[in-house]
């Protein structure tokens, strides 16, 4: 009974139903979304990892890479130190030159690669082993390259391979693999040479990075791909199982060197993973493989310990043997997961609701605003009636007047009021299209202008909303001035679009959607302020100032200041990602976040005019 009367109360109180309730609901959605994420590291919400693909059989084989191979390793190392770049004897070897230009910087290099043809295979499937000359941190990957060469010589002697093994030696971790993998699938730009030598469909890729001389302690596994795509969890699990179970080497992830499995450390690991996923840049040579649906990870030995290069070699041998067992492409396990420890994860079903709730809060507000413009005219009586299609009035001036009056009186009662859609629709879609301008600018200009452009853009962000708000309030030069209902409709459409884009994005890149959703959260609660000028002006100026702190360029400057990375570096990397890796984080920033933010500012700014 209590519920029934509560519902009846709600129906009789439109102010509560259309204004207060959506605000409360939206706020709840955001809070629950964030709390949801914070709950994930708890044991009740996360799961122990497990190997889902039975064919992998991790650690079930004896790894023979020992003993005398070490002498070969030393020999190769000496030769490499003398800078003789040659593929190991007996392999088919080819080279590929490439060149990229981004933000006015040229990148060029030459990939060397060789293929071991599988004695038991038919060259329809292959595994890739990559050892770049420079690691992702720009160190000389001396031991990594040597190890790859030694393994190539060693693998050649075994008759058990049923998949070809391709050894790739790109000059650096940023461009080389991208050029190679693009050319492998014949999707390379004109500045990249095609590959003279190819094998079958790639089943998996392992990247070796061993840039220091001393023995190592643990294995750091990097798994983030471009645009937040992740490799199949089975590959990661296999690496952890082999390193930990078979070789007795611990595995780390996300640069968490001391992980005591506490709540804080788990959360920190998740958040680091989400940051990398959200930014969507390539974290290593393996990242370029991900867009082609090739699961790939980088293995980085870390720390001071007693494990030598032979232990790493055996790990890689065992991993290759596991991949060699595969009967079909890795598909059994999860592609969407958040790892919080090398043996604990949450799957998409558990974590997705948090981003969806945050995206949903915008949709809830959009629906509420739409209903409010139709059913309930707040503050100013007669607003909805006054806005009742000026077009129809001018078209049919007489004859139906009495009928019309009847309808209008009805409309103000219980049924739907007319909405004026043309201006809100045009404005919202136009502003989203304008987002292409900064997108183009920040991906095209030379790198030395990036810092200046960012600061100029902060200025533009201060001025542009005010200009737009002034134009809108004065009717855009057209005779009819904008009515309050249209402001609500503008907000409704903008939030609807934001909610739509973010929920779609959540299925592709959860972390990016979550981050943008949080940064946009204030936009739900921003409206045009009405009332006395003395109240209106200070509040809207203060609100605009606060909102400007949350504008895309301001956030970029803030983050750069906090992390100590120069703005130019970040934007150069971003432009490089756009040009070479096919990264689309910028599209989301400039065509989803920025327009929504701009419309929020315009609404707030319009209260000053």
């Amino acid at each position: 009974m209590a519920l029934k009367s509560a519902i009846r109360n709600l129906r009789n109180n439109p102010q509560l139903l259309f204004v207060r309730l959506p605000n409360i609901l939206s706020f709840l959605c955001i809070v629950v979304g964030v709390v949801w994420l914070l709950l994930l590291p708890l044991n009740d919400y996360s799961r122990q990892t497990y190997i889902s693909e039975n064919a992998l059989l991790p650690g079930q084989v004896h790894a023979y890479f020992t003993g005398s191979e070490q002498n070969i390793f030393r020999g190769y190392k000496k030769e490499i130190q003398a800078l003789i770049q040659e593929g190991p004897a007996g392999l088919k070897v080819a080279t590929q030159k490439y060149e990229y230009t981004s933000a006015g910087i040229g990148y060029q290099g030459e990939n060397v690669y060789g293929i071991i043809h599988a004695p038991r295979g038919d060259a329809t499937e292959a595994i890739v082993l990559v050892a770049a000359w420079k690691t992702a941190d720009d160190e000389l990957n001396l031991n990594g390259v040597t190890l790859a060469l030694t393994l190539a010589r060693y693998f050649k002697r075994w008759s058990l391979w049923s998949k070809d093994i391709i050894f790739v030696f790109p000059p650096d971790s940023k461009t080389g693999t991208q050029a190679w993998i693009d050319a492998y699938h014949d999707l390379h730009p004109a500045t990249v040479q095609p590959l003279p030598l190819k094998s079958g469909a790639l089943q998996g890729a392992l990247v070796i990075e061993y840039p220091f001389e001393n023995h190592f302690h643990t294995l750091h596994i990097v798994y983030d791909g471009v645009n937040g795509q992740l490799p199949n969890l089975d590959l990661f699990n296999t690496a952890v199982a082999i390193a930990g179970g078979q070789m007795g080497i611990g595995a780390n992830l996300q640069e968490m060197w001391k992980h005591d499995d506490s709540y804080q450390d788990r959360l920190k690991t998740i958040l680091r993973g989400m940051t990398k996923q959200g930014l969507g840049y390539a974290t290593g040579a393996h990242s370029s493989f991900m867009p082609y649906h090739i699961d790939a990870i980088t293995l980085q030995p870390k720390g001071e310990g007693w494990e030598d290069e032979m232990a790493l070699g055996r790990t890689i041998e065992s991993l290759c043997r596991s991949l060699n067992n595969l009967l079909e492409h890795l598909h059994q396990s999860f592609f969407f997961y958040l790892l919080m420890q090398s043996n604990r994860f949450v799957s998409i079903g558990t974590y997705l609701p948090s981003a969806m709730l945050i995206a949903g809060n915008f949709t809830i507000m959009a629906i509420a605003l739409w209903m409010r413009t139709g059913y309930y005219s707040d503050s100013k009586p007669g607003v909805s009636a006054g806005s009742d299609t000026p077009k129809s009035k001018s078209e049919k001036p007489s004859g139906t007047v009495t009928e019309k009056e009847v309808t209008e009186s009805k409309l103000n009662g219980s049924t739907v009021a007319e909405r004026v859609l043309a201006l809100p629709l045009t404005l919202v879609s136009g502003l989203h299209l304008i987002g292409l301008v900064p997108l183009w600018i920040f991906n095209t200009i030379f790198h030395q202008y990036f810092t200046a452009a960012t600061y100029i853009f902060v200025g533009v962000d201060v001025v542009l909303p005010l200009i737009l708000a002034a134009l809108l309030s004065n009717g855009l030069g057209i005779s009819r001035p904008i009515v309050p209902q249209q402001y609500l409709l503008i907000k409704s459409f903008a939030l609807l679009l934001l909610g739509l884009s973010l929920s779609t994005l959540a299925t592709l890149n959860f972390s990016l959607s979550f981050m943008i959703g949080l940064l946009c959260a204030p936009l739900t609660f921003i409206t045009r302020i009405q009332g006395a000028a003395a109240v209106r002006y200070p509040i809207s100026v203060l609100g605009l100032a606060l909102l400007n702190l949350l504008s895309p360029p301001a956030v970029l400057i803030g983050v750069c200041w906090y992390t100590g990375v120069p703005i130019e570096t970040v934007l150069t990397q971003a432009a490089f990602g756009w040009d070479v890796w096919g990264m689309w984080t910028q599209v989301v920033v400039w065509c989803v976040w920025w327009p929504a933010w701009l419309i929020g500012c315009v609404l707030l700014g319009s209260s000053m005019f």
Binding site: Q229, P291, K391, E418, T507
Partner: protein, 423 residues
């Protein structure tokens, strides 16, 4: 003839927008041509190119089983310059077809047939958009633009249907039937529109002449004209292809038997993939019967508003056709603004439109996850096509509800504005 400046501005802007899009993003047409949401096996421009290649080399275009479109398109397109070296003329041809469609739509709107027909006069006549606004909704609809840029051959079927209706509302019943004949020849399913279109023509004739002609004879006459026009077009096709049965089975047989189960936005492909072969014929019959049954039901119930029957049927086709694409939805969305006066009576527009928006964003995303990223599967995309169909059906059901409510209010003026209760 006085030139309507607003109309010229809208048409010009639509043309320039399309031209800008292909000049700024030269890869856009090819990208859209490859999208399953836009190009189905029966309207794909890529397949047309294949047919054209065979045709210009004197091989039967239906050899190879890729091309399934009407043969008369081939001589038409062989007149245009090669699209790979010079894509602009073909694109401009498609732009012009779009403008012709928009013009036909404006004619339909200006006739006022949607608010005031022989047997029906809407309650809210004053709430109405003029022809130019309706044409603008059509021309600036992203789905229309996508269809036009993808150079889908559905636009010719759309032209046939829109020209048929616009001729019917202007009283040129012969031209209306000829245009419908063209549309039916191209895509077969528009033939289902014959009954409501004949009713529309009949109402027009009855309104104009002093005494109404005999309805049975009128429908027979027009049925004969339609069959004659289709037969004429088929005759021309034989001249082109030579082998009559080969082309019949490759085009209409393909429509009827649905052998190609490439994903599209419709409901058939997944269903027939899952089906055991022994049930295939039965369910083909059921699906076609289901699609055709709407004609009888809607015609009987909404006899007083033949144009609304046509609109609703186009909505039904956009959901339940074997190879629907977004061009079918865009045709339905083009005719819906004619019923602007019903919008105040519709209850779920915002939800239906939100569902459509969600599915049009999530559809490509899930298709990407399925086909390219490999992290999703067919069910992802199928789920979204269900949401898309759900959104369209809600819109359809809601508009029919509004039309019925409008009729009911006319019959019971004293009950106007009262809330409906389900009994």
């Amino acid at each position: 003839m006085a030139v309507d400046r607003r109309k010229v501005a809208v048409f010009g802007a639509a043309f320039v927008l399309r031209l800008l899009l292909i000049c700024l993003f030269p890869s856009l047409p090819d990208l859209l041509t490859g999208r399953v949401e836009v190009s189905t096996p029966v309207n794909s421009f890529k397949r047309l190119q294949e047919g054209l290649y065979l045709y210009t080399r004197n091989v039967s275009p239906y050899d190879g089983g890729v091309f399934h479109q009407a043969p008369l398109l081939l001589p038409l397109f062989s007149l245009l310059p090669d699209v790979n070296s010079n894509p602009i003329p073909t694109a401009i041809f498609y732009f012009l077809v779009d403008l012709v469609n928009a013009h036909a739509l404006a004619t339909i709107s200006e006739s006022g047939q949607s608010v005031q027909s022989r047997l029906h006069s809407a309650m809210r006549k004053h709430i109405r958009w003029d022809g130019t606004s309706v044409a603008a909704w059509f021309l600036f609809n992203p789905f229309t633009i996508a269809t036009c840029l993808a150079r889908s051959t559905s636009v010719f079927t759309t032209s046939g249907i829109l020209l048929a209706v616009s001729n019917a509302v202007s009283g040129n019943t012969l031209n209306a039937m000829l245009a419908l004949g063209l549309a039916s020849y191209l895509s077969m399913y528009p033939a289902l529109l014959f009954v409501p279109l004949a009713l529309l023509c009949y109402d027009q004739r009855a309104q104009k002449s002093a005494q109404a002609p005999s309805s049975g004879l009128f429908i027979l006459q027009h049925g004969a004209i339609l069959s004659g026009s289709i037969a004429g077009l088929l005759g021309l096709s034989i001249l082109i292809t030579g082998n009559f049965w080969e082309f019949m089975s490759a085009t209409y047989g393909f429509h009827l038997l649905v052998p190609d189960l490439t994903p599209n936005v419709g409901l058939w492909w997944y269903f027939f993939i899952e089906m055991f072969d022994s049930f295939r014929e039965f369910f083909l019959g059921v699906f076609w019967l289901h699609l055709a049954s709407y004609v009888g039901g809607l015609t009987a119930r909404l006899r007083r508003q033949p144009l609304f029957i046509i609109t609703s049927l186009l909505g039904v086709f956009a959901v339940f056709k074997p190879y629907p694409s977004i061009s079918d939805a865009s045709l339905y969305f083009a005719l819906l603004p004619l019923y602007r006066h019903l919008f105040p009576l519709m209850r779920y527009t915002f939800f239906a439109i939100s569902a459509l928006l969600y599915s049009s964003l999530l559809g490509p995303a899930f298709y990407h996850l399925w086909i390219y990223a490999g992290s999703g599967n067919a069910n992802f995309f199928y789920a979204i096509t269900l949401v898309w169909s759900l959104g369209l059906s809600i819109l359809l059901a809601d508009s029919i509800f509004a039309a019925l409510r409008d009729e009911w209010e006319q019959d019971h003026p004293e009950r106007k504005g009262q809330e409906v209760k389900q009994v």
